[in-house]
């Protein structure tokens, strides 16, 4: 009878220990998941930031170099695994992906530029009196 009680005590201790371990693990996993999500958001934002800087520079160069200027350029095809679109308006570059967007200033002034990377990541910027972005 005493032996049975010891076995019963061991199983209770085991269950208690397992429960505590699972509880601790759930806290750790929750923490890691939160940090990882923040790191992914940060990485996507930095990528969009770089894309916006590149586009701003391309638009400014096309404007200052004047009529007859063309240049081909390549952009990352996706942000966070999804295609994105870029709009260049008066003095702003807007990059939109998933349900997020990023706005960067630019000195470009002129016709509004818009393009998507749905099936395309190579583009050409042209100044034929007005600035356009097209497929190469």
């Amino acid at each position: 009878m005493g032996t049975n009680k010891r076995k019963g005590q061991v199983s209770i201790e085991f269950l208690l220990l397992l429960g505590l371990a699972m509880f601790a693990l759930s806290i750790v996993l929750g923490f890691i998941a939160t940090k990882q999500r923040k790191a992914i958001i940060y990485s996507n934002t930095k990528k969009a930031d770089k894309i916006a800087d590149d586009i701003a520079f391309q638009a400014e160069m096309a404007l200052v170099m004047g009529k007859g200027y063309t240049r081909k350029f390549v952009l990352p095809a996706r942000i966070g695994g999804k295609p994105y679109n870029v709009t260049v308006t008066q003095q702003h570059v807007v990059v939109q992906w998933k349900n997020q967007n990023l706005i960067q200033p630019t000195l470009y002034q002129g016709r509004e530029l818009y393009f998507e990377t749905q099936n395309q990541y190579r583009f050409k910027i042209i100044n034929n009196g007005s600035v356009y972005i097209t497929k190469p």
């Binding site: 009680k5 005590q9 930095k46 800087d53 520079f57 404007l63 200052v64 000195l107």
Partner: protein, 175 residues
Amino acid sequence: MAQSTLQNLKNGQVFEPDFVASLALFLIIIGVFMSQWNTIMKSKTQLNQVKEIRENAERTTTLLASTPGYPNDWDKNNVKVVIPGFTNKNGYVISSKLAEFHKLTYKNQTDLLQAQNFYLKITHGGEPLTINGKKTIYCKKSSDPETLIPIERDILINQSGTIKTGKLIYRVYTK
């Protein structure tokens, strides 16, 4: 029976020192991991900020040293500069644009260069170029700069028909 039950409970290990010690060790390891993660993310963020400022500074100097700006004739009277550039269409830095840039207010200059604390100088033979009696130094330096990003470009200067070699020195300060 009650006594033997109590003895059996005493053999239980849930609240024994070794469990408490293992729990403490686990929490220490988690704490170290969290601290390392935060340190790495912080240093990565700072590096990216400096890298971004450097890339912007390089783009600015490309526009200044290699393009005429927009409109191309922004050094003429009553023409508002949208994008600064110091060259003519042949790629020579011209003194009229340097002089015109001098006339802009500090706020205009920082808006055009997209930099709050900067130092911009045009030199010839190691000395600042002088135009209309003024040295071609444009700056607003932070009194206690944290980071300095220097960019230099070799340029050709057309001053009153004379072609000179020179340098465009551009520094951006953070903080």
